[in-house]
């Protein structure tokens, strides 16, 4: 009998704890749904063609985030042009030749750089570019985003290349291909889709960054296509709208957020659909 009671108690504890873990999972999913639903609810009503194409105007006169969308686009593209080649190159090095001390060191610093707060990157670029140039610029913003991208892309590229079977390299080498041809014509194409997914996720990540743009790209009230001038971005615009005193601004913040979050979610879902078979 005593055994039975002990056994029942153990089963009871087990049942309670396992339900608690399920409750934890339910809780965060509820939070996600609440956040997304609230963004959709507040955002949809404020989106219009005018909002998407016009520049910010004094409170009460309407206006929009057209210049912020363009600015974010320009800076994301420029950051990708700088960050992707360097990141992918570093990743290829780490995967193919990175087993010695140099590779280990680079890998270690890449990992720690990923964890460094993005606002620190903003300060670094401020001292590096903005102080000598004496003004904020879209280029400085792009460079900050590129620096955030490089270690992330390097590490995902490395992982993807390591998935390519050794036998493929050996086969090519046995046919007399020089090593660089093996990497360039055999390994890279085999890992291309994986590298592309990693790049997409990195782009999604930098398109949501605010802190590194605050004092590098600053903000602008106008359409600006010159990267040596201060440039507006969706995220900084959301920050300014959200911390402003007027209800109209808050509404614009939600609408801009809907566009930003929508974009990021779409990228994540597409990536997920492409990688589904692999995992």
């Amino acid at each position: 009998m005593a055994n039975d009671i002990a056994h029942n108690r153990r089963k009871f504890v087990s049942g309670v704890m396992t339900s608690l873990t399920a409750a934890c999972a339910t809780f965060v999913i509820a939070i996600l749904v609440i956040i997304l639903a609230y963004i959709a609810y507040r955002g949809f009503s404020a989106i219009s063609w005018e909002f998407l194409t016009e520049t910010p105007k004094p409170v009460g006169e309407g206006g929009g985030i057209g210049n912020a969308i363009v600015g974010s686009g320009i800076m994301t593209v420029l950051a990708s042009l700088i960050g992707l080649p360097i990141g992918i190159g570093a990743g290829v090095y780490l995967a193919e030749f990175g087993d010695k001390w140099f590779g280990t060191t680079v890998r270690f610093f890449a990992d720690t750089l990923i964890g460094v707060p993005s606002i620190i990157v903003g300060i670094f670029v401020y001292t590096l570019i903005v102080l000598p140039m004496t003004r904020q610029s879209g280029f400085a913003g792009s460079l900050s985003l590129a620096i955030i991208m490089i270690p992330i892309v390097a590490r995902t590229t490395e992982e993807m290349i390591r998935l390519v079977p050794k036998s493929m390299r050996e086969g090519a080498l046995a046919l007399g291909a020089p090593q660089w041809r093996v990497t360039w014509n055999i390994v890279l194409p085999a890992a291309a889709s994986g590298i592309a997914t990693g790049a997409m996720l990195a782009i999604a990540r930098i398109s949501g960054e605010t802190a590194p743009l605050l004092f590098t790209a600053l903000n602008s009230r106008f359409y600006n296509f010159y990267v040596d001038q201060p440039m507006s971005s969706l995220t900084v615009q959301i920050y300014n709208f959200a911390t402003g005193p007027f209800e109209v601004e808050h509404q614009m913040a939600w609408a801009a957020t809907l566009i930003l979050v929508g974009l990021i979610l779409i990228i994540n879902i597409i990536v997920r659909m492409f990688t589904k078979k692999k995992y």
């Binding site: 996600l32 963004i39 360097i86 190159g89 030749f97 080498l173 979050v261």
Partner: protein, 306 residues
């Protein structure tokens, strides 16, 4: 791969080495630029900069203690809330849920990490802060009001709100690492425990014990993220450089004082003070992340080493 003797190999490898070295150059340049630009306050205040509790830019008095206090306390709140939650989710996903259910849930948790910080901030201002002011705050004051932590005026904006927002943002990261760590624990251990008559939960406890240092690594990684969390915290913590026992009072973190003031800091000493705080934050997060990496690696090594 070893070289095959053509010139192409040397050229290709040199180019790749330059790309890889860029990462080291970035880290070195970061440290150099930040040290160089914080020399004015290092000269002026020395170590007292970190222990001074008064922050009066108008009269050139800079003490970083309120910001260090705010950073540590808000991060602790975040960890206290996020760690049990993340453990629960990770255990559910790895140990209990069938793959059919676990996969979409894992994806949704990842989506939580994909939402930008500024969006959490916006949500924090307009949803979480009112919730705390109207529901959670009065509840805590009613039942735990005798503890100084929960006394003081309720505005909804303050240390607790910052900590809760941080907890939401740290949870997916900690969950992901704990999941990876649990997945490395060999299935044989679970089978052995179950065969000896252990219940599901008792088996999980054994698995957790084997993954302990990896879980510690996940927690430290979460700490690193919380310490450096910027936008969302800046928007909800109240931005006031004070050291108060109450969690409802506004506070300030290192990252948020940088975000809120850096653009306006034209005075040389003021800018230097901010950059020095950035340097402190950089070094701390760097060390914390390195530590996390070592802890997680230890589990991976031990499990695959056998």
């Amino acid at each position: 791969m070893s070289k095959t003797g053509t010139i192409g190999d040397s050229v290709f490898r040199t180019i790749l080495i330059i790309f890889a070295a860029t990462i080291l150059v970035i880290v070195a340049a970061m440290i150099a630029m930040m040290v160089q630009n914080s020399i004015p306050t290092i000269r002026e205040f020395g170590f007292g900069f970190l222990t001074g509790s008064r922050w009066l830019p108008a009269s050139d008095i800079y003490g970083a203690l309120p910001f260090i206090y705010g950073t540590i306390v808000s991060s602790l709140i975040a960890l206290i809330l996020a760690v049990p939650l993340s453990l629960g989710i990770a255990i559910f996903l790895v140990e209990q849920a069938p793959a059919r259910i676990a996969r979409p849930i894992a994806f949704m948790v990842e989506l939580l990490a994909a939402i930008p910080s500024v969006v959490y901030g916006l949500w924090g201002i307009f949803v979480l802060a009112p919730f705390i002011r109207v529901y959670l705050g009065p509840f805590l004051q009613n039942y735990f009001g005798f503890i100084p932590l929960f006394q003081g005026r309720l505005t909804g904006i303050g240390m607790l709100t910052g900590g809760i927002i941080m907890a939401l943002m740290v949870t997916p990261i900690v969950t992901a690492v704990v999941r990876d760590v649990l997945e490395v624990v060999p299935t044989a251990q679970r089978e052995a425990a179950l065969a000896l008559g252990a219940t599901k939960w008792e088996t999980t406890v054994i698995v957790l014990g084997n993954a302990a240092s990896g879980i510690a690594g996940a927690v430290v990684l979460g700490l690193g993220r919380a310490l450096g969390e910027t936008m969302a915290v800046t928007m909800v913590i109240g931005n006031s450089p004070q050291i108060s026992a109450s969690l409802f009072e506004p506070a300030y973190t290192i990252a948020s004082v940088l975000a809120a003031n850096f653009a306006e800091a034209t005075d040389k000493l003021y800018m230097s003070a901010l950059i020095e705080m950035g340097l402190v934050l950089f070094l701390v997060t760097f060390i914390v992340n390195a530590l996390a990496k070592l802890l997680v690696l230890r589990v991976a090594k031990r499990q695959t080493g056998h």
